[in-house]
């Protein structure tokens, strides 16, 4: 299916999405700016900007933090769940704390902090932009890379000796401390809208003090995928979604 024919996704600019030199470093066709914009819209629509804190890890996603007109941090690689935990608890649950991490950050180097934050039922929201490779460093294999995927560290294509793609929302749905997990994408307007709905649901779980909430967003990386931005949209539709199905995997109002 050619999704490229759809146009005019959005108009106007959310007031919480600010201009910053960091934004100039993002590549054409990258989905990080789309997700940033989406987060800004959601925070604005929910009216929570005065309590909002965004905690970024390391990678292209780190550039989010000066782009949002609310409190933000950059932490060590993979450690946003630890930092978010401490902010939330130190301030006695008052701020609304979300992490923004890539798949390398959250699922590879940061798997330990993430799973333990989930086990402790931390009242935080994890947002993962999954672009199935290490974008910033030039497109190396990630735990999320597809079998057969050519990356700079799997030049012949990823084979099972390097492991299999990891499905974090499905895995964390089995953890008691988790209130909400979902996977979504922003490659079509309909999916953009659904992502906003899911993100609102995830943040609401935190506001309602239920447990940890997590949203994985499939995200294009044109230079490292060696595809143009339009080809990326089709790649997400045809190759990524079959491996990484979209939808909610857990949505509970109480974890007790």
């Amino acid at each position: 299916m050619a999704v490229a024919a759809e146009k005019a996704w959005v108009s106007g600019t959310p007031k919480l999405w600010t201009r910053h030199p960091a934004g100039a470093r993002q590549c054409p066709g990258c989905h990080h700016p789309i997700i940033e914009r989406l987060i800004a819209e959601v925070v604005e629509e929910m009216g929570i900007e005065d309590r909002m804190v965004i905690v970024a890890g390391i990678g292209c996603g780190a550039r989010i933090f000066p782009m949002m007109n609310f409190d933000g941090l950059v932490t060590a690689h993979g450690r946003p769940p630890d930092v978010a935990t401490a902010i939330k608890r130190s301030l006695k649950g008052r701020p609304i704390v979300a992490t923004y991490q890539g798949d390398g950050d959250a699922i590879s180097i940061g798997a330990g902090p993430l799973i333990n934050a989930a086990a402790r039922a931390e009242k935080i929201t994890i947002i993962i932009a999954n672009n199935i490779n290490y974008g910033t460093t030039g497109g190396q294999m990630a735990p999320t890379s597809l079998l057969g995927q050519v990356t700079s560290t799997t030049p012949e294509g990823r084979d099972p000796s390097t492991g299999y793609p990891m499905h974090i929302p499905e895995m964390l749905a089995t953890v008691k401390g988790v209130a909400y997990t979902a996977r979504t994408s922003v490659h079509t307007p309909a999916n953009y809208t659904r992502t906003k709905k899911y993100l609102k649901a995830a943040l609401q779980k935190q506001i309602d003090n239920v447990g940890l909430s997590l949203l994985e967003i499939l995200s294009a990386c044109p230079p490292d995928w060696r595809l143009n931005p339009v080809e990326c949209l089709n790649f997400i539709q045809d190759k990524l979604i079959p491996e990484y199905p979209l939808g909610e995997f857990k949505n509970v109002d109480s974890i007790a």
């Binding site: 960091a22 932490t75 630890d82």
Partner: protein, 370 residues
């Protein structure tokens, strides 16, 4: 007859004194992970903080603790973690990030013998990794070195003050002996003067009057944010700060003035060395002790004065030779610097330690009189 009411003293363990000092300094947020020989600290906070309306989190690792410390410090609260040597290794990336992000916090390191898992017993083998910035990137941290249970209580309070003053992590370097022994302590809240306001703290725009956002980054110098719009600006600011920190030297001089041989020691070996100095004095030997209470900045000037004054120097430390390098730097070749280290431990089990008798032996061997 008038009597002066003696200050009330309580008998507590060194590790517990750390907690009492931290509490006196207003620390009500603690992140920790079990490791011997510091467990009493983590357990004390787990027990006491909930009662006092504070926050205790047991992390999943020391890497977790130090990154939680990052988050807690970012809120502007006085926050602390503690660990022992293997955990200290795991914290190095976090220390480097705290230094870059300029977040004030306190880390208490109760040393045990290394390398690897080493032992769970006492040693002083983490001097270099604390005083030289054990993580990457060439940052500096003030390192305080208590030698008694009372000093554990007092120097932890000073650590919080210095952390706030310089917006930098501060390390309190103790060891299993100081941490595990019990002594009478007077818990007094120390007043070191005002500290800068934490106008930079995060927590949501609602937490501040100007209603503006705040940003905190361990990548200062890379993504340009206030106050540093370039890496050069960052390193110039850090250099200025580290030079100011380097003036915070602390030490105790014990009978150094007329001494022909001065011992230099910190932590538990300073107590052992002091005992040996007393014994040597009783034998008529003019021996003294210089005890750094800050090991970074190291009291180079005080060592240099002793060396210039014609005294030889003997570094006593429970390692294969770490602090002795600083003694040599301080002496600037003006006096011989001798070393008594880990190989002088008495006993062959992991519970062995350097004892005063062995130090006295070394003093007698080296002492040249007038």
């Amino acid at each position: 007859m008038s009597t002066t009411k003696a200050a009330e003293k309580i008998l507590v363990q060194g590790n517990e004194a750390v907690c009492l000092g931290a509490t006196a300094a207003g620390c009500t947020t603690f992140f920790g992970y079990p490791i011997t020989p510091q467990n009493e600290i983590t357990e004390w906070f787990a027990r006491e903080l909930p009662k006092r309306g504070g926050v205790f989190v047991q992390s999943q690792s020391e890497t977790g603790s130090i990154n939680m410390l990052f988050g807690g410090a970012a809120t502007g609260l006085r926050v602390m973690t503690s660990t022992s040597s293997p955990g200290w290794s795991l914290m190095q990336e976090g220390m480097s990030c705290l230094a870059n992000a300029e977040l004030p916090c306190v880390v208490v390191l109760v040393q045990r013998a290394g390398p690897g898992q080493g032992t769970t017993r006492t040693a002083q083998t983490d001097y270099l990794s604390t005083t030289r910035g054990g993580g990457h990137g060439g940052y500096k941290t003030i390192v305080l070195a208590p030698a008694s249970v009372q000093e554990n209580c007092d120097l932890v309070q000073r650590a919080f003050y210095l952390a706030d003053k310089y917006r930098n992590p501060v390390v309190v370097l103790t060891d299993a002996v100081i941490g595990q022994m019990a002594e009478p302590v007077e818990v007094t809240t120390r007043d070191f003067g005002p500290v800068p306001e934490k106008d930079w703290a995060i927590g949501g725009k609602e937490t501040r009057q100007d209603g503006q956002r705040r940003l905190i980054s361990c990548g200062q110098g890379q993504i340009p944010i206030e106050p540093y719009t370039s890496f050069t600006q960052l390193i110039e600011a850090l250099d200025k700060k580290y030079k100011a920190m380097a003036l915070e030297t602390g030490y105790e001089s014990y009978l150094t003035e007329d001494a022909r041989l001065n011992l230099v020691a910190y932590g538990y070996t300073a107590r052992v060395a002091k005992e040996a100095v007393v014994w040597a004095r009783n034998k008529g030997l003019r021996v003294g002790l210089l005890r750094p209470t800050t090991v970074w900045p190291f009291p180079y000037g005080a060592v240099n004065e002793l060396a210039q004054g014609g005294s030889e120097l003997l570094a006593v430390e429970d390692s294969l030779g770490q602090m002795v390098d600083d003694v040599r730097l301080g002496a600037e070749g003006k006096a011989p610097v001798h070393f008594l280290g880990m190989l002088a431990r008495q006993g062959i089990s992991d519970a062995a330690m350097i004892l005063p008798g062995r130090v006295l032996e070394e003093i007698e061997k080296l002492y040249k009189g007038d």
